[in-house]
Amino acid sequence: MQNNPIARLGDTGVYVLQDLGRMTFFLLKAFRGVFRRPFRFREVLRQVHFIGAGSLTVIICTAATTGMVLGLQGFYSLNKFGAEGWLGSAVSLSLIMELGPVLTALMVAGRAGSAMCAELGIMRISDQIDALDCMAIDPFRYLISPKFLAALFSVPLLTAVFDVVGIAGGYVAGVTLMGVSPGSYIESMQASVTNHDLRLGIIKSFVFGLLVVWICTGRGYFVWEIRGAGFGAESVSRVTTQAVVMSSITVLVFDYLLTAVLL
């Protein structure tokens, strides 16, 4: 490592540029792999099961508690203005445009993203990815692209489940526990949620799904190229942690950017 701070800064700048370039080519190759034959439908289904069905429990639990908290807090705030009838609107808009896509992506990053990163990291350090290359089997088509397809399919569906369960949680807290009128909860929701809001939520869920699978698989694939990762099993654990942190932060940054651009 350089001792001169300016040299160190330059060194870091070069590393960041190299990393961005590496990850950009990785993304392009992953998309190219989707169209290369033979297609791996069975592997895509397996990944959909792993990312989608496997994450369902954690998504439902998170959505139910988030919706109930929103119901209680929303009631507390709206009650001050005598506007508790708008609770359905507040809960549903918060979930559909913001919390649903973001929390779903964070949950998928923590559960499936970390597993994908560790799997690829282990395959890299045990020469399994090199073995694919040596057999002239494209590792992107074989390993990465099915994960991309599965994430792009599963994350929006999980987000939809999150929204529905969250709205139901808000209903339980607001209507059943706090006594808000069921009709006003449903009616205010129907009156305020527009197609534009739904579209924003869907776009976010696609983008977040892509970011999570891209960062998590990319970190695992390049486990030896990551600065400070070390070697062997330790490198996999470090890179997995880094992947989850990096994808979570990137999701939050893109959440702001997309909201600012699309709202």
């Binding site: 350089q2 033979p38 045990s126 399994q128 073995a131 290359d133 057999m135």
Partner: protein, 261 residues
């Protein structure tokens, strides 16, 4: 096939050091691997043995010089041509590099399923013959985690043979194996080479034992290569680093091996 299987001409490979500057792993080395013969690449840790294999497989690129495979310049080869080139190689990795989530049968049949248009029956027949030859019949349904180190190496060898390679590369094939298993792997290797007639490169520390298989030995030291055509030639070398290598790596076992020969 005429001419060498592989030829390095003035190949240079350097790696950047974290402390600045570069480390030269291969310093304009030139050598050739004869067709149908066995070449052993030996040398201390970090001397570039695995780098040499990766350059041959185009998993890494040379910084200068040219690399030829059966006369074809593969130094900058890309795309479909690279895929076609790789189907001509078989590789047995140090840890066998089997896919953990696939059974023995699925591991061995993978290259046939992915790279050929054979039917399931044809694949089954071919894999069955190979598994039988390597003593793996009855283990088809096992996963790599359920196999011993020696059996994993045999499965790796079976997989490497599926596409009928012209050149087989072995990266430390007996690391971590006991002497009986080591002997077993070498016996299988010799039998298979006699049947299939491929050229082979073995990267190994197991110098005394591997000599019985080698037609040529290449010793790597500080970026340079020394090529020998027999064990005796190595012992007669007057170069200090070769004499040191003979003393530290071969020792008494080497002496006894010479007596056996």
């Amino acid at each position: 096939m005429n001419g060498p299987a592989i030829e390095f001409r003035e190949v240079l490979k350097v790696f950047p050091k974290r402390s600045g500057g570069v480390q030269t792993v291969l310093d304009k080395v030139s050598f050739s691997i004869p067709t149908g013969k066995t070449t052993v690449i030996a040398g201390g840790s970090g001397q570039g043995k695995s780098v040499t294999l990766k350059l041959i497989l185009c998993l890494m690129r040379a910084d200068a010089g040219r690399i030829f495979v059966h006369g074809q310049d593969v130094t900058d080869i890309e795309g479909k041509a690279l895929e076609d080139l790789r189907t001509r190689f078989g590789v047995l990795f140090q840890g066998a590099a089997l896919f953990d989530s696939l059974t023995v049968y699925e591991n061995v049949s993978l290259p046939l399923r992915e790279r050929t248009k054979k039917t399931e029956k044809e694949i089954g027949d071919q894999v069955g013959v190979t598994l039988e030859r390597l003593g793996l019949t009855g283990h088809e349904g096992k996963y790599p985690a359920q196999l011993s180190g020696g059996m994993r190496k045999r499965v790796g060898l079976a997989r490497a043979l599926q596409l009928k390679p012209e050149i087989l590369l072995f990266d430390e094939p007996t690391t971590g194996l006991d002497p009986v298993m080591t002997q077993d792997i070498y016996r299988l290797f010799a039998e298979t080479q006699a049947q299939e007639g491929f050229s082979s490169i073995i990267v190994s520390h197991d110098i005394p034992k591997i000599f019985s298989l080698a037609d040529q030995v290449i010793i790597l030291n500080e970026g340079k290569m020394d090529v020998f055509t027999s064990p005796e030639e190595i012992q007669l070398s007057r170069q200090e680093h070769i004499r040191e290598f003979v003393r530290t790596t071969m020792g008494e076992i080497y002496q006894s091996h010479l007596v056996e020969r």
